[in-house]
Amino acid sequence: MKKITPVQMVSILICCLFYTLMTYIPPQNDNAVLLLCSKLLTLGIQCVLLIPLIKLYAKTNGKGIIETAFAKSRTAGCAAAVIYLLFSIFILFITIGDFAFFLRYSFASTYSEWSVVLVFSLASVYVASMGVSSGARTAVVTAFITVAGTLLVITGFKGVIDFRALNLAAENRGEMLADGILSSFSRSDELVLLALLLPYLKSKPGKTVYSYIAAKAVLSTVIIIAIAVILGDFAIDTKLPFFALSAYSKNRIFERFDAFFLMFWVMCALIKASVALICISDCFRFLFPKTDKKLWLFLPAFFCGSADIILIMLDKWEVISYKAFSNILIVILVAALPLAVMLFRTRYTRSKTGGTK
C-alpha cells in the first residue's frame, strides 16, 4: 500500500474543507462573531476528540480502526466496516449532489444535472482507481493554489474595510453559539475520511492532525471575517457568500475571481469524492475480500449519482437538511468508535510494536 506524507494528508483535508466552505449558506440570523467563536470552540473540541484516533495509530503502528476491530473478532470488524461504509456513502452522496446542485444554480450551467453527475462520477472513479497517492499529489497543488487565490481575493477590495462591522449585537447569544457548534460539527465530515485514511499516513499522526486543525482554524477565521467585514448584511441575501466575495474582488490584473474559484471548487469536489470512494472501497475490501476493487468504486458512484439526479430533478435537494443529524454520527465515528477499538485487547493493541514482527 502506497503511503502518503503528512503534507499530502493535510492537503486532502484542506481540499475537503474548501469544498464545504465555498458552498456554505449562512442562516438568516447569523452573527459573524458568534459563528467564529462557535467555529473555534468546535475546533477546540475536535482537538480533544481526535486524541483516541492518534493514540490508536500509535498503538497499532498505523493499522486502521477496521483492521484492529477485525483483529478482535469478525463481528466487531464487520460492524465497524459497515458503519464507516454507510457514512462514507453518505459523504459521497452529499458531495456529488451538492456539486451538481450548486454548479447548476450558481454558474448558469447550461448542462443538465444528469450530465454533470455522470461526468463528475466517472472522473471521481478514475481518480480513485489511481490510488490515494495520486489524488494526494493533486490535492497538494490544488490546496496551495486555492489558499493563494483566497488571499489574493482578500487583497482586491476598494473602499474602507472596517473591522467594527464585527459585533455582538445578537439576541440569545448562548443559543446561537450552541447551534453554531452543532452546525460546525455537522460540516466536519472530512474528519471521518481522516479516520479511514490514517492507515495510509506514513508517520506523525499527531502533528498531521493538529496541523490540519490549525490550518482549518486560520482559513475559516479569515474567510468568515472577510465575508462579514466586506459583504456585511448582504452576505445573508446571497446564496453563496464565498463566491459573492470572490465576484466582488477586483485588482489590477483580475476582475472577478468567481470563475477562477469555480475551477478549484471543482478540483476540491473531485478530490473529496475520490477520497470518499477510496474509503468506501477499503470498507468493502474488509467485508468482501475476494471481490474486485473496481466493482466497489463503480457501484457506490452509480447509486449515489442516481439518487442525486432524481432528487435534484424533482427539486427536492434543498427540502431535506441532510446534514442536520450528521454531527452526532461524526462524534461517534471520530471519537467513540476509535476509543472503543483502542480499548479492545487485540494482537495489535497488546503488542508494543502494533502487531508487526
Partner: protein
C-alpha cells in the same frame, strides 16, 4: 484500463456537449454597459446602454466618429418586465456582467431597494461593485450621454466617478455599499448626483442641460444616423402604457464624449458629466442634497477622504491647498448620558515653498483646520440632523461599542439618533 477510462470520459463530455441545446452563444447576447432606472406614473422606465459590436469605439475623446453603443428604453409596470421588453425587442439575451453603472432617476422610490435592484441581486453575472448614482433629473438623460471612449462605452463614466471620489468631491457608492446602507436602521444612504452640462466650444460657456440631450454632428463630415436609416432598426425605444399603446424611436448618434477638449473651430456641443452634489436618502426617501463642501465633510467623518483641495482664507487672501489624509479615527463614546461621535482627523498640507513664504505657517494650519471642521459640522448638521439620515454609520458603531443598547432600540433608531452629538478635532501638518 487508464486509456479506456480517459476515452470514456472524453466521449461522455463530447456527447453531453453535442446534445446541449441550452448553450447561449456570444452573438446571441446583448452586453449591457449602463442601466438607467426612472419611475413615473406609467411605471418603471429602464434605459440601457448596450454595446454595439459594429462600432470600433474611439481612442481619444476628440474623435467621436466610432460610437460603439446604442441606447434602448422601455417602460413597464416592473423593472423585470421592462428588462424583458428590452430583451425581446433586441432579440438577444441581456448580459449584465459588464454593467459599469446603475443610474437612478431622482423620482425613483427607494423604500424597497431589494425589490428595486432585485434583478441584479438575483443575477449571478452581476458585479457587486457596479457604481450606483442618482441623476439630477432623469436617468434616461444620463444614459443618452455617449461617452464613446475606449473599448467599453461607459468605462469613462466610472473613471469620472472614481476621479471625483479620489478628489474627495463625491461619496463612495457601489451596489454592495448602497444595499448595506439601505439595510441599516433608518434606511439611509448617500449617492453621488450626476448631471449633464453642455459645453459649447464656440462661446466657451457652460450651460446646464434640462430635458432631452442634444445631438449634433461635427464639421468633419460625420452624419448623425437616424432611426429610419439605421440597419439595426430592430432596436427600438418604446414606452408601453397600461392600455398597451407603444411609440418607438431609436436614438443612436455620433455623439461627442463628455469631459474632454474639442477640436479647434468645431461646432460640436460637447456634453459634460459632472457631480456637484450628493443626494441624501433617509427612511427610504430622498430627503435632500448636500453640496460639495458638505460632501467633503461627510467623507472626512466616514474616513473616505484620501486627498482634496481645501479653499480657505489666510492673512486676508484666498488660498487653495492640497490636503492629504494622514489618519482618521472615529469612535462612539458615552458622555453625560449622550453618545458622542468623536472624530480625530490628522491631515498633511501639501504645499510648496512659495506658499509657505507668503503665509504664516501656523495661521495656514489653523485656517485649514477650521475649514475642515466647518465642512464636517455642516455635513453633520444637514445630513444627520436636518435630513435625519444616518450617513455616518452611527448604527454600526453603536452595534460595535454598545450592542445591548442597539438591541434595545433597534426598532426605534430615531430615539438613539437624537442623543448623538458630533465632536471633531483636526490636526494639520505641513509637508
Amino acid at each position: 484500463m487508464k486509456r479506456a477510462f480517459l476515452w470514456l470520459i472524453m466521449l461522455t463530455l463530447v456527447f453531453v456537449s453535442f446534445n446541449n441545446k441550452e448553450a447561449v452563444e456570444i452573438s446571441e447576447r446583448a452586453l449591457v454597459h449602463a442601466v438607467g432606472i426612472d419611475e413615473s406614473e406609467e411605471g418603471i422606465t429602464v434605459t440601457l446602454q448596450v454595446f454595439k459590436a459594429s462600432g470600433a469605439g474611439s481612442d481619444t475623446q476628440i474623435d467621436p466618429s466610432k460610437p460603439n453603443i446604442f441606447v434602448i428604453s422601455n417602460t413597464a409596470a416592473s423593472f423585470d418586465e421592462a428588462m424583458e421588453k428590452c430583451e425581446s425587442q433586441m432579440g438577444k439575451y441581456l448580459f449584465i456582467g459588464h454593467n459599469q453603472i446603475i443610474v437612478l432617476g431622482s423620482q425613483v422610490s427607494l423604500d424597497d431597494p431589494d425589490k428595486l435592484l432585485g434583478y441584479f441581486i438575483k443575477n449571478k453575472d452581476n458585479y457587486l461593485g457596479v457604481s450606483v448614482v442618482m441623476a439630477e433629473n432623469t436617468a434616461k438623460e444620463i444614459m443618452e450621454v455617449q461617452l464613446s471612449t475606449g473599448a467599453v462605452a461607459s468605462e469613462n463614466f466610472t473613471e469620472i466617478i472614481d476621479m471625483y471620489y479620489s478628489n474627495g468631491e463625491t461619496v463612495f457608492s457601489d451596489m454592495l455599499h448602497f444595499m448595506n446602507s439601505m439595510k441599516s436602521p433608518g434606511s439611509s444612504a448617500v449617492l453621488p448626483v450626476v448631471s449633464v452640462k453642455q459645453l459649447s466650444t464656440q462661446d466657451q460657456s457652460s450651460q446646464p442641460l434640462s430635458g432631452e440631450s442634444e445631438q449634433s454632428g461635427d464639421s468633419s463630415g460625420q452624419q448623425e444616423e437616424s432611426s429610419q436609416n439605421n440597419p439595426d432598426s430592430s432596436q427600438n425605444e418604446s414606452s408601453s402604457e397600461a392600455e398597451g399603446a407603444e411609440n418607438s424611436s431609436q436614438q443612436e448618434g455620433s455623439q461627442s464624449s463628455g469631459g474632454g477638449g474639442s477640436e479647434e473651430g468645431s461646432q460640436i456641443a460637447e456634453q459634460l458629466v459632472t457631480i456637484e452634489e450628493s443626494a441624501v436618502i433617509g427612511g427610504g426617501q430622498l430627503k435632500g442634497y448636500i453640496n460639495a463642501d458638505e460632501t467633503k465633510g461627510l467623507n472626512w467623518l466616514t474616513d473616505h477622504m484620501k486627498e482634496t483641495v481645501v479653499n480657505t482664507q489666510t492673512d486676508g487672501k484666498q488660498i487653495g491647498v492640497t490636503v492629504k489624509k494622514r489618519s482618521v479615527k472615529n469612535k462612539l463614546v458615552e458622555k453625560d448620558g449622550r453618545l458622542v461621535y468623536k472624530t480625530d482627523i490628522d491631515v498633511i498640507i501639501l504645499t510648496d515653498t512659495n506658499i509657505l513664504t507668503s503665509f504664516n505657517e501656523d495661521r495656514l494650519k489653523e485656517s485649514v483646520s477650521r475649514k475642515i471642521k466647518q465642512d464636517c459640522e455642516a455635513a453633520a448638521d444637514k445630513a444627520f440632523y436636518q435630513y435625519g439620515a444616518d450617513c455616518f454609520n452611527c448604527s454600526r458603531l453603536i452595534k460595535f461599542y454598545y450592542p445591548q443598547l442597539y438591541l434595545d432600540y433597534s426598532d426605534n433608531f430615531d430615539l438613539l439618533r437624537q442623543i448623538i452629538d458630533f465632536e471633531t478635532s483636526v490636526s494639520c501638518y505641513i509637508k
